[in-house]
């Protein structure tokens, strides 16, 4: 399918007129008019003002709305005008936009939109402009008012430097295991509430295993924890979990949500992001290695500008900058300027949301309405990213692609690749030969067919008939097409230098110009590259004229802006462990965001995080070993007061249960059934299957496209993070579970997923293949296990595997009853009756659909 090339700017916003500068230098004088004569005054008050109020103010006044940036309730508003430039040119009605608009002269600009003014009204306005548009109205000092708001917003808690906080004194000195607990307990005591009892070992182990690795504990892990009588038994568990590869896989996924990661570039035409997996693997490794978070930031924003000590480090640095370009990048747009600035906007949004908890992109069009973020802040950052190359124009049609960098190879990698290349060359040769033969034979056939057609009777004896010749020709043509596809496919798969999506400095480094209402074709003055002023404490780094400023941006985030960055980061970790951030709105710390429930604790943790060298593992270790984290989720009689006083558990008087997210759900099901296979990363898409690749013809106007028609055999057994993520359709094949359980669509940059419960989820759990397969496989394993001789023994093992705990007595009874007292058998393998091959899967399936399994308590 060919994509159109016509492009338009958002035409309804922009009139084909030259626009005035957005900022003010010439305007002050324009606003100061001579005093009005009584005649002018009367004309304005009696004729003009009522008309403006009645027909224009609804959409163009401070009190109501300011559509198109235009205000008609002040002299200054008229003269400064809105997005389309000054509304009037005093004395010159023909040149005044306002007059053109009310005359309905131009189809693009007809005001008021709900009906043309009466001729007499029109005449009043024309006359008024003709005689100089005298206007006695005071200019409401909107900019001053905004300044006042901004000053108030500056005082917002999130923009203050970190406070030095000491842990508070508490009444019950026995309860806290550390400082975190003191902060939590102190708040509870103020409200007259008490913490809950400790969770038992089974529940705590399942909780911490799921939180840190996304997987439930195995039977052995359960047993060794139960048997560990050391007072450091909990520490042993946590250290084991933090050191596991699973920890990286679990921690990376929320980060990919923030990045908008997918194995697809943009959302048009299924263009594969065939190198994106390198970034995914980089993130997993970074978490696993406990890469200091400040370095993690620096590499992702400016890895290409850092120096490296090793080939591997250089690979990481280049790959890390994929952060900036692995969102939903539009690559099909013929107006490349708009395309570029939309991406810059996305990069600013991503940096703002991920690191600062700010919605900076509102300031693309106007100073932020309620946060102290200005156009200058925005365009200061825009200059940094527009001086960075993120996409480049492809040779195909209107298409662009995301910038890639070749990665240096270690000797081992290079040797392996050479070997792979030789293998590929053999395959190429294997296709080439029959192709040459087929082409030669086709060349022979063409004249024969022609001759036979012209003279069907003259065929030499023994020669093939026309029908045979035509048949051979058709078959050869078909097989030639297949061979051609195969050779393109091999070319596509050729093991070339490894590439990573990675940004570069542009050859031309420049400050960005303000854009009127975010339209890159309508420019104001240039804004020096810089950072967000309100988040800055101390002096920001200087950006050299020949650098984009990405490196300085990273240094600003981890330096002068570190108070906010550390708060946002610590809060994300807290959210992952406790289900809700200390600040509930994890991606937004602004004026309209939620207030922290424990502001002192937040600052305490943020300060400690920085002092600990931005180590995430140290922070996580402290949190999961806290007594706060160890509390039960179950309520008891004494909980009633707390439930009434704090039903949302904001004060942390217990642990909040949480439903497993989509990845955890699938991974846990695979783990419980013993089907999960370890993986060390690598490409998620499987282009080695020719049915998964389209548009291979190099002359095609569209880029190569992917499909997910076929998965590798082992993909069904891999953790969900290794499965392909697509933007333009539902998630496919084994990743299907993501469609049902609140997976973040990969253009929604989000640090928090909602937890919904809807019927489609229940249908998936009840009738879908995931749980059914797992139940069958686990049943077979249980029945094959010769160490298990009784059903009770099997019940115990099953509950341990599936729910991480032995069955309670009443559960054993209920299970036994469900198990034996079944409906009359029907037919097929899954019939009822007491046939154990059918009964066990059903019981296991039931357990896997229960909230005991679906929640981590």
């Amino acid at each position: 399918m060919v994509k159109g090339m016509q492009t338009r700017i958002r035409s309804q916003l922009v009139c084909p007129l030259v626009l005035a500068a957005l900022v003010l230098p010439t305007i002050a004088s324009a606003g100061e008019a001579d005093p009005l004569t009584p005649g002018q005054m009367a004309f304005f008050e009696q004729r003009v003002r009522p008309l403006l109020i009645e027909r224009c103010y609804t959409c163009h006044s401070e009190a109501k709305k300011v559509n198109g940036g235009l205000r008609l309730d002040s002299r200054r508003g008229l003269i400064e005008g809105g997005d389309s430039g000054p509304a009037i040119s005093p004395g010159k009605p023909e040149e005044s936009l306002l007059i053109k608009a009310v005359r309905y002269q131009d189809t693009d600009l007809q005001m008021p939109p709900d009906g043309k003014l009466a001729a007499a009204e029109l005449a009043v306005l024309e006359e008024w402009v003709r005689i100089g548009a005298s206007d006695p109205r005071a200019d409401t000092a909107s900019s001053e008012k905004t300044d006042v708001n901004r000053a108030a917003a500056r005082a917002h808690w999130a923009y203050q430097p970190l406070q030095q906080v000491a842990p508070p004194a508490v009444g019950d000195g026995q309860w806290p295991r550390g400082n975190v607990d003191r902060f939590v307990l102190a708040k509870l005591e103020v409200r007259g509430l008490h913490p809950s009892l400790d969770a038992d070992r089974y529940l705590w182990l399942r909780r911490v295993s799921l939180d840190l690795t996304g997987l439930p504990p195995t039977r052995n892990e359960i047993q060794s924890f139960i048997d560990d009588h050391s007072p450091l038994a909990w520490e042993h568990v946590v250290d084991r979990l933090l050191a596991s590869r699973d920890f990286g896989e679990r921690s990376a996924r929320p980060w990919l949500d923030l990045v908008g990661y997918a194995d697809q570039i943009g959302s048009a035409n299924n263009v594969p992001a065939e190198h994106a997996w390198r970034y995914r693997d980089y993130v997993i490794q970074a978490f696993r290695d406990d890469k200091p978070f400040d370095e993690f930031i620096r590499e992702q924003l400016a890895g290409d500008l850092l120096t490296a000590q090793s080939i591997e480090q250089r690979q990481s640095q280049l790959t890390a900058t994929g952060f900036l370009v692995l969102g939903n990048v539009n690559i099909v747009e013929s107006d490349k300027l708009i395309m570029q600035m939309d991406l810059v906007d996305q990069q600013i949004e991503k940096v703002g949301k991920t690191f600062l908890g700010m919605t900076l992109n509102c300031a693309r069009c106007h100073d932020h309405k309620f946060d102290p973020v200005t156009l200058r802040d925005y365009y200061g950052l825009a200059g940094i990213f527009s001086s960075t190359e993120s996409t480049y124009k492809e040779q195909r049609g209107v298409w662009s692609s995301v910038t890639k960098s070749p990665l240096p190879e270690t000797l081992e990698q290079f040797t392996q690749r050479e070997a792979a290349l030789r293998e590929n060359a053999k395959k190429v040769a294997a296709v080439h030969e029959p192709r040459v033969t087929a082409e030669a034979r086709l060349r022979e056939l063409t004249p024969l067919v022609k001759a036979a057609r012209e003279n069907p009777t003259a065929a030499a004896p023994g020669a093939k008939s026309l029908a045979d010749l035509e048949k051979e020709q058709a078959e050869l043509t078909k097989s030639l097409a297949t061979l051609e596809q195969q050779s393109w496919h091999l070319k596509y798969l050729e093991p070339s230098t490894p590439l990573a999506y990675s940004v570069k400095e542009r050859a031309e480094i420049a400050d960005a110009q303000l854009q009127v209402r975010g339209n890159p074709h309508v420019l104001g003055p240039a804004v020096p590259r810089g950072f967000v002023e309100v988040a800055t404490h101390g002096s920001p780094p200087t950006i050299p004229a020949d650098q984009s400023g990405r490196l300085q941006l990273a240094n600003w985030l981890t330096g002068p802006a570190s108070s906010l960055v550390a708060r946002v980061t610590v809060n994300r970790i807290w959210q992952r462990l406790f289900g809700r951030g200390l600040v509930g709105s994890v991606d937004y710390f602004g004026v309209r965001g939620e207030l922290p429930t424990h502001p002192e604790l937040l600052d305490y943790l943020a300060g400690q995080f920085i002092r600990d060298g931005w180590s995430q593992k140290r922070l996580i270790r402290e949190l999961v070993l806290s007594r706060t984290y160890r509390q039960r989720a179950e309520a008891d009689d004494s909980s009633q007061v707390a439930i009434t006083a704090d039903p949302e558990n904001r004060l942390l008087w217990r642990m909040s249960p949480r439903r497993l997210d989509a990845e955890m759900l699938r991974d846990a099901v695979l783990a419980v059934s013993g089907e999960l296979k370890p993986c060390t990363g690598g490409p998620a898409l499987a282009p080695e299957f020719i049915e998964n690749v389209g548009g291979l013809n190099p002359t095609d106007v569209n880029p190569v496209s992917f499909s997910l028609s076929k998965f590798r055999d082992d993909q069904r057994n891999l953790r969900t993070i290794y499965l392909p993520v697509v933007r333009s359709s539902e998630q496919q094949g084994p990743a299907e579970v993501l469609n049902f359980f609140d997976f973040a669509q990969p253009a929604r940059l989000a640090g928090d997923r909602p937890t919904t419960s809807v019927a489609s989820q229940a249908l998936y759990l009840l009738n879908g293949p995931l749980l059914k397969d797992a139940a069958r496989k686990l049943a077979a394993k249980l029945l094959d296990d010769t160490t298990l001789t009784t059903d009770d023994g099997r019940f115990s093992v099953l509950y341990l595997r599936a729910l991480g705990r032995p069955p309670a007595t009443e559960e054993s009874i209920a299970a036994r009853e469900f198990f034996t007292n079944r409906d009359a058998p029907t037919t097929g393998a899954d019939s009822g009756g007491t046939d154990p091959l059918a009964a066990w899967p059903r019981l296991i399936h039931a357990l896997l659909t229960s909230n005991d399994f679906l929640f981590r308590l």
Binding site: S11, T107, L763, D823
Partner: protein, 478 residues
Amino acid sequence: MQSGKLVTDQHRLNRRHFLECAGCGFGAVALQAMFAGMARSAEGPLALRKPHLVPRAKRVIFLFMAGGPSQLDLFVPKPRLVQYHGQRVGVTNLPRGIAVGTEKFLALGPAAEMVPRGDSGAMISNLMPHLAGVADELCFLHGMQVDNPAHDLATLQFNTGVVNEVRPSMGAWVSYGLGTENQNMPSYVSIHAGSDVRAHGSAFLPAAHQGTVIGSIPQDPKQSAIRYLNDPQTPQAAQRREIDFVQAMNRRLLKRVAEDRVMEGVMDSYELAFRMQAETPKLVDLSGESAETLNRYGVGEQPTDKNARACLLARRLCEVGVRFVQVTIGGWDHHGNIRDALPKSCAEADRPVAALIADLKARGLLEDTLVVWSGEFGRTPWSQDLSGTAPIETHGREHQPESFTAFLAGGGVKRGYSYGTTDEFGYQVIGGRVHIHDLHATILHLLGLDHERLTYRHAGRDYRLTDVYGNVVREILA
């Protein structure tokens, strides 16, 4: 999260009471009845909500013509195109880029004749004889606009208002704004939806508002219309037993934690799922419709069967209280040989669409049902020839977001009316422009929703379907 906030204290009290009763020996049947009753009175995300204004329509059927039907072959005769057919046209205001195969700018006359229809005289092609029969019900918008020339992105914008973000779809907004009348069914159903889930997604709105997809309407009642609606291997009674076992476990757990809305939500969802398993196949089973009705839509005949089933099901869904039904009818992307391909597409779609409008009318449903018919964009007046050598008669047309035609019917819009005009070629809008944001604002308005007040707080900001744009097209209101 957000949905949780909607749960009132009274509702929670009811639930508590229910859960206590459930703990002490209610049978499965009574349980189900209670769940059903509660679902109906629920204060959940799908509870009925009062509109801002007096509504003119209660529900929407959106007939989405995927691919972009050619307005210049169907509804908008341009004498200049006939006159200059095959010749280079003097187009001004050229787009900045020229798409492959259109660089010759050869005017392409219509594939068939368009003639005035009904009392209104609306121009409708001979390729759509059935639609011509209901011409006086229609309100044409000839000045439609979207912002992007690529299918996926224009489709996204048509459904969500934006191109580069994940925002809730139109149906999700409507569901959020009004709730639904039947708690046993989803509020928003998308029949034959395209693959891009964002086009019927709920984004940051509660997931209950997302479109439920009916991928294909089964002819065999044993097949399921909704994914995983049934487990053919497990008898209903066996499944009920399993659910009872699981719900007993769930009640024990819930009692232990005393209060957890998500756990309660999961428990509710199993019951709703179980009811849907019973209800949906009945609804999707068209065999109870009269022979005359089936015939009118073209059910069981080719090439209409697929679209006929979809349109007929749309009516049935409306009758049981589904708020927003989307029917996707594809096959309109005629880049090449439009003279050959367009008649085929029309033959598949014309009869079912016209039958739906007539059927709604006959049942008195058209009064308060708004029918919207549109592609994601239209097609160019000049021809497209990908080969570069084909004769003009086998050319097609390229995408055109700058102007195209949609029509509405029922639900408070003028009957037999046409709004908007384009230049002599049918490229630029010269009057009565309706940008997609304006259409969204108008659809919401007809449903009694003020597009500026229908907002949802997300990431510190109040979001709207119309972003910061959109004007209600008052000219077309009845």
